[in-house]
């Protein structure tokens, strides 16, 4: 079977086929120590300096569950609207150098969180099948052969990461496009960061995404055969990999072939997926209950405290901001993502104009997130109000905001005064406008005749003569008045 050309990725015949995606996200928990031992959970340390008999699986060692890891897992479950339940741990047996014990401790048929959902900013709900706890594996480096596993001469293993607590979040196959997959991961990441459980760093591997991708004829009720795609380490590569894989499967089907269920590896440089191993002998992990660990049965008080530990989730914050600003939640997603929603909500509560506040926050403030940290809602509200009351022109308001963000002062009025920004009184403005009209008799006739193209000329001339102090909206309204348009 010929593999699709990488350059052709994304050319899915959208009218005839539908993409179906389910995602598995592994999230490293931000605990101080590992899941079953007191070794530090820390990224980037010297190899094999955070290891002990428990995480090395030495004979006679006993695992003891980390209370904080359970707390984080429950917070994730609550934030994803899951049932948080009694759970047990299993051994997943396999032989691979990254697991020194030759098994991974994971939750199998009795996971801590089941049946939840996540709402995308656009409003669609994606089902969460489960969110269970397990331990991470070690890290192997392949030596020789340019680091590729197939060409390596040998490998070196670092067990610092072995035993680090993970929560694996498995979605239902509810995702229908690469864009939706990216939106899901981005929303999930924001939720995980909000719970305090994760630092959300995909590039450091603390958030890892595998995608189950299949295609089916449009309007089909049954699912196609899926492939599991691994090794995507950014939202961008997730989207590219899904589009490539879906197009590859459509090619196979259109050529009269069958999609083979297998695990495929995404190669970022080549922009394609390739088969990782054949499933001739399906993996038999011989799961059995971990005899060294007892059941985990969180009582209602503990679950309640995990619920109480949660700050407002991104979806709630979008709704709060949208309500405060009189707009729809999807349109304010970026402000919440940038953590600027509080600023706008407070400014609007203090009486600032919502439309201007949203606008200035999404543009000027968003462009200087460093400066945004020292911008108080009160001074933000003040500058927005000055603009709304036409005490500042839009251009002047942007300059005052820039000075606030740069930390020049926290008093918008003082900043405006220092720059000589004072509102032109209407009489003075009218005099200038009449001068400009008098100097341009021919364009003025066209303006009166309703030619919109000359409006810019008049506003520009007025701005020039007032050195930018005039308010553009005021100028336009006086011009209309003079033209008899009211």
């Amino acid at each position: 079977m010929s593999e699709r050309e990488a350059s052709g990725a994304g050319a899915l015949d959208g009218a005839r086929y539908e993409i179906v995606v389910g995602l598995e996200v592994h999230c490293e928990l931000r605990t101080r120590t590992k899941l079953f031992c007191g070794c530090p959970n820390s990224f980037g340390d010297e190899p094999n300096t955070n290891i002990c008999p428990v995480c090395l699986g030495l004979p006679g060692s006993l695992p003891v569950l980390n209370r904080q890891a359970v707390e984080y897992a429950m917070r994730i479950g609550e934030a994803l609207h899951c049932q948080v339940r009694p759970s047990i741990f299993h051994r997943k047996n396999y032989f691979y150098p990254d697991m020194p014990k030759d098994y991974q401790v994971s939750q199998y048929d009795e996971p801590i969180n089941v049946e939840g959902w996540l709402e995308l900013p656009a409003g669609k709900r994606i089902g969460i099948t489960r969110a269970h706890m397990e331990e991470d594996t070690g890290k192997s480096t392949h030596m020789g052969g340019a680091g590729r596993i197939g060409d390596a001469t040998h490998s070196l293993v670092d067990y610092n990461r072995a035993g680090v607590p993970l929560v694996e979040i498995v979605s239902e196959p509810d995702i229908r496009s690469a864009d939706e997959a990216r939106a899901y991961v981005s929303e999930l990441r924001a939720i995980l960061v909000a719970t305090g459980a994760s630092d959300g760093k995909m590039e450091e591997g603390s958030l890892r995404v595998d995608a189950n991708v299949s295609v089916r004829p449009a309007h089909s009720a049954t699912f196609g055969t899926r492939c599991e795609i691994k090794n995507m380490n950014s939202l961008r590569s997730l989207g590219r990999a899904i589009d490539y894989e879906a197009a590859r499967q459509v090619d196979v089907l259109q050529a009269g072939g069958r999609v083979v269920q297998e695990t495929r590896h995404w190669n970022e440089d080549e922009g394609r997926t390739s088969s990782m191993r054949s499933k001739e002998e399906a993996y038999d992990y011989r799961y059995f209950p971990e005899p060294d660990l007892v059941p985990l049965v969180p009582d209602e008080a503990w679950r309640e405290s995990a619920r109480c530990a949660l700050p407002p989730m991104p979806g709630e914050r979008r709704r709060a901001l949208a309500e405060a600003a009189g707009t729809d939640p999807a349109s304010v997603a970026l402000l919440v993502e940038l953590d600027l929603d509080g600023l706008v909500v407070e400014a609007v509560a203090a009486g600032a104009d919502a439309r201007i506040a949203l606008n200035r926050a999404a543009n000027e403030v968003a462009a200087d997130l460093e400066g945004a940290r020292r911008l108080s809602p009160a001074s933000f509200a003040k500058v927005v109000s000055m603009e709304a009351a036409a005490k500042l022109t839009a251009t002047q308001a942007k300059q005052v905001l820039a000075a606030l963000l740069a930390g020049e002062s926290d008093d918008p009025e003082a900043i405006a005064a220092r720059r000589g920004f004072e509102a032109m009184d209407t009489t003075a403005l009218e005099i200038v406008i009449d001068e400009v009209i008098a100097a341009n008799p021919e364009p003025w006739e066209r303006f009166k005749g309703g030619d919109p193209k000359v409006a810019g000329l008049f506003v520009g001339q007025v701005m020039k003569r007032t050195k930018g102090k005039a308010d553009g909206k005021a100028v336009t309204s006086i011009l209309r008045e003079r033209a008899g348009g009211g």
Binding site: T31, R32, T33, C37, G38, C39, E46, P47, N48, T49, N50, I51, C52, P53, L56, V64, L65, N66, R67, Q68, A69, V70, P86, I88, Y94, F95, Y96, P97, D98, E110, T137, S140, T141, H142, M143, I149, A152, H154, S155, L156, V157, D158, Y159, K230, T263, H265, M276, R277, Y283, D284, Y285, R286, P289, P291, L293, V294, P295, L296, V297, P298
Partner: protein, 100 residues
């Protein structure tokens, strides 16, 4: 339930556990494993409908520790026990495929 187990079943289980077994051992273990399975299948004669699965023989739940760092082991001491080490890491032979 089986009162015998095929030689292939035994070889499959042995392979999963990475055990090297001789043909004589396959025959020996087939009989022994079948006896174990038969014993377990006695339970099937009982109605266990209302009995929850036993997760652990001890009546304990929620054995937890606080999230506090405790001393580990010296790297050099551990690496000295390994068949081979390099650059502070365990050296293993060429790996034949990606992790499952």
């Amino acid at each position: 339930m089986p009162d015998s187990l095929s030689a292939d079943d035994v070889r499959h289980v042995a392979r999963l556990a990475r055990l090297d077994v001789t043909d004589e051992e396959v025959e020996l273990f087939a009989g022994q494993l079948a006896a174990v399975l038969d014993h377990a299948s006695d339970i099937e004669a009982l109605d266990t409908h209302e009995v929850p699965p036993t997760a652990h023989p001890l009546p304990l739940v929620n054995v937890l520790r606080e999230d506090e760092v405790t001393p580990g082991v010296e790297r050099d001491e551990v690496l000295a026990m390994a068949p081979a080490a390099e650059e502070g890491r365990f050296r293993v032979p060429r790996i034949l495929g990606e992790a499952p």
